[in-house]
Amino acid sequence: MPADSERVLDVRDLQVYFPVRSRGVFPRTIGQIKAVDGVSLHVEAGKTLGLVGESGCGKSTTGRAILRLTQPTAGSVELNGTDITNLSRRQLRPLRREAQMIFQDPYNALNPRQTIGSIIAAPFRIQGVEPPGGVRTAVRELLDRVGLNPEHVNRYPNEFSGGQRQRIGIARAIALRPKLIICDEPVSALDVSIQAQILNLLQDLQDDFGVSYLFIAHDLAVVRQIADRVAVMYLGHIVESSSREELYKRPLHPYTHALLSAVPIPDPEAQTQRERIVLGGDLPSPLNPPSGCVFHTRCFVAQDRCRTEVPIMRDMGQGHLVACHFPIEEQRIGEVIHGPDSGLTAPLEPEPGYFSESITDLGAVGTTRLDSANSTDEGI
């Protein structure tokens, strides 16, 4: 394990619970939404950690809690070696210089009544920093750096396209040369061609300034493009994390398998050759998460043990961590696997041969575990 000093961000056992109130005559707290339930992660200097998951998994809440935009319920957040979990607003202020955030919807994150010049100059003003050469020069340099025309400094956000607005957001975030930028779905609202431009820009900035990213996204292909290390989140928990190469080449958690197989590849041939896992059902409510392993209700390799025993994160070698009792170590090609109560399987009355050949008995899919899946615990 690398020394802590190399870590820009170190999050331990982070919990963010939101109280739920009853609707009776006298409302009272009747439960908690466990949006983030014991997340530990770290980001190394100059590196990118991708935090992946579907909506409602708690990835954005994690990002917000790290910057204390949402108050963590428990756990600790260390930024650059300083524990910021319990700092007051005033104590936090100087540390805001070290960590910035960029958002999914660049338009909502920009004040429409301010020129982009004054938006990008805001961090200097707020932190009372006088850059060498003055704020005006710094703003122009920043605009130029993110690929915008410095002449446009007096324009308003609505005069820019989505991709350009995201560049404005990035310019603002890098203004004070932070050590860490939390990117919350920074490219998911953008068109494909623009998305690639922004991803390249983020990589260039990392190469130039050595900034670290916590890159929150739902798109595994995007994360693969930019991250050095990837953590997969499900229902408030990190279920798997490892280096990028490992995670994409040798995923272990069944949820990671399902996620990877669900990402369509823009290649018709390859699409037919892939392992296909169609998870059944929907994300369970974080108000009342399943017992044992939170994924067991949708898992296609779950066994009795998964219903009762919470899997502990363990190292499967080379820092490849997984929280699963029965990690899957081999890829199946060209198969279609359905999870339990996949809405699809039971009700459809298939005509013969309309599924791919690997599935023969559709009626039994809900309960059947495929052979390859059964043999997965051998490798542990």
Binding site: R23, G24, V25, F26
Partner: protein
């Protein structure tokens, strides 16, 4: 659902209680000496002191409030012995300028106000919503521009101005209607209608202008919603798309506004009642200011506020019926 209603009613009662105290307290700190005001023409220090005792003004504000509050439920007797005045429950206080219980004064004036409010309400709601929907459907065409323009004028004209103009032309110049003289509808329906028609229209014009604009913008917003596109994609007739899908969603916010506006109107339209000499709450309030009678003002303020709070409750409950998303499960 019932727990929701019960909770809302409880909250409402609490609000009424707080409100009654606030009203009572605010009026009691006014510099006017009520004992002196109620004393009449021949006034000696002795009578003032007597009045003070009779009204309970020598007691602390909290005691006075308690007397006032309990009178609503058990009634109250002002003074003792021969000259004592009995105000039976529910008693909202006693007017010494009019020598009557405040509640009776208010009830006496309430019909004119209620008729004015309800009549105008029906006209402006139908007119305003109708014009608003029509305007939205004709968006950008001359009909829309005309309606929007006229409603802007209607919205910006003060009621006394419109009121005086119509009185001048309709009654004085063209003599289409007799001078307003309010009677109860069951006594002389024709005269009632002759009296009410102008104030209804004048009041309705003001509100209709607002509702036209509100409805228009609501409808335009709703018509651009995805579910309207879905309704069209299903092949529904445009009539159904508008009348069923768009109206139901677009009119929901209007229910809120209408409920509160009706409640406000029930508190009396001071200017219009004065112009058209209608014996309503508004004119009672004005006369109680000009010829100061604090107990009447407290009574009217409380009644008006109660209307608004109750209307708020009704609107909230209606809302839950209209929109399943806010319906508690």
């Amino acid at each position: 659902m019932s727990a929701f209603v019960v909770r809302r009613v409880l909250i409402m009662l609490l609000m009424l209680l707080l409100l009654s105290f606030a009203v009572f307290f605010l009026f009691s700190i006014l510099p006017a000496d009520v004992a002196r005001l109620t004393c009449g023409k021949i006034c000696t220090d002795q009578t003032i002191e007597l009045n003070r005792a009779r009204l309970g003004l020598d007691k602390s504000i909290f005691e006075q409030y308690w007397l006032f509050l309990s009178a609503i439920f058990v009634g109250r007797t002002y003074g003792v012995g021969e000259g004592a005045l009995v105000c039976e429950a529910p008693c909202l206080g006693w007017s010494f300028t009019k020598s009557e219980p405040v509640l009776e004064l208010i009830l006496d004036r309430l019909p004119a106000t209620v008729f004015l409010a309800l009549g105008a309400f029906v006209i402006f709601l139908i007119g305003g919503v109708g014009l608003g929907v029509y305007s939205a459907l004709r968006r950008g065409r001359w009909q829309d521009k005309a309606i929007t323009g006229v409603s802007l004028i209607g919205y910006s004209l003060p009621s006394f101005f419109i009121g005086l103009v119509v009185i001048f032309f309709v009654i004085i110049r063209w003599q289409l209607l007799p001078f307003p003289d309010y009677v109860n509808p069951w006594e002389d329906p024709v005269q009632f209608l002759q009296t009410m028609i102008l104030p209804w229209i004048v009041l309705a014009v003001l509100y209709a202008a607002f509702y036209t604009r509100l409805t228009r913008s609501q409808m335009l917003e709703t018509l651009s919603e995805d579910f309207i596109r879905t309704a069209r994609a299903k092949g529904l007739k445009e009539r159904v798309v508008i009348g069923k899908h768009a109206l139901r969603a677009g009119l929901t916010p209007i229910v809120t506004a209408a409920g509160l506006d009706l409640a406000g109107l029930l508190g009396g339209a001071i200017i219009l009642e004065t112009i058209f000499s209608l014996p309503g709450l508004g004119s009672l309030a004005i006369s109680s200011v000009l010829n100061p009678d604090q107990s009447i003002l407290v009574g009217i303020t409380l009644i008006t506020a109660t209307f608004i709070i109750v209307a708020n409750l009704i609107v909230d409950i209606l809302y839950a019926f209209i929109d399943p998303r806010v319906r508690p499960t």
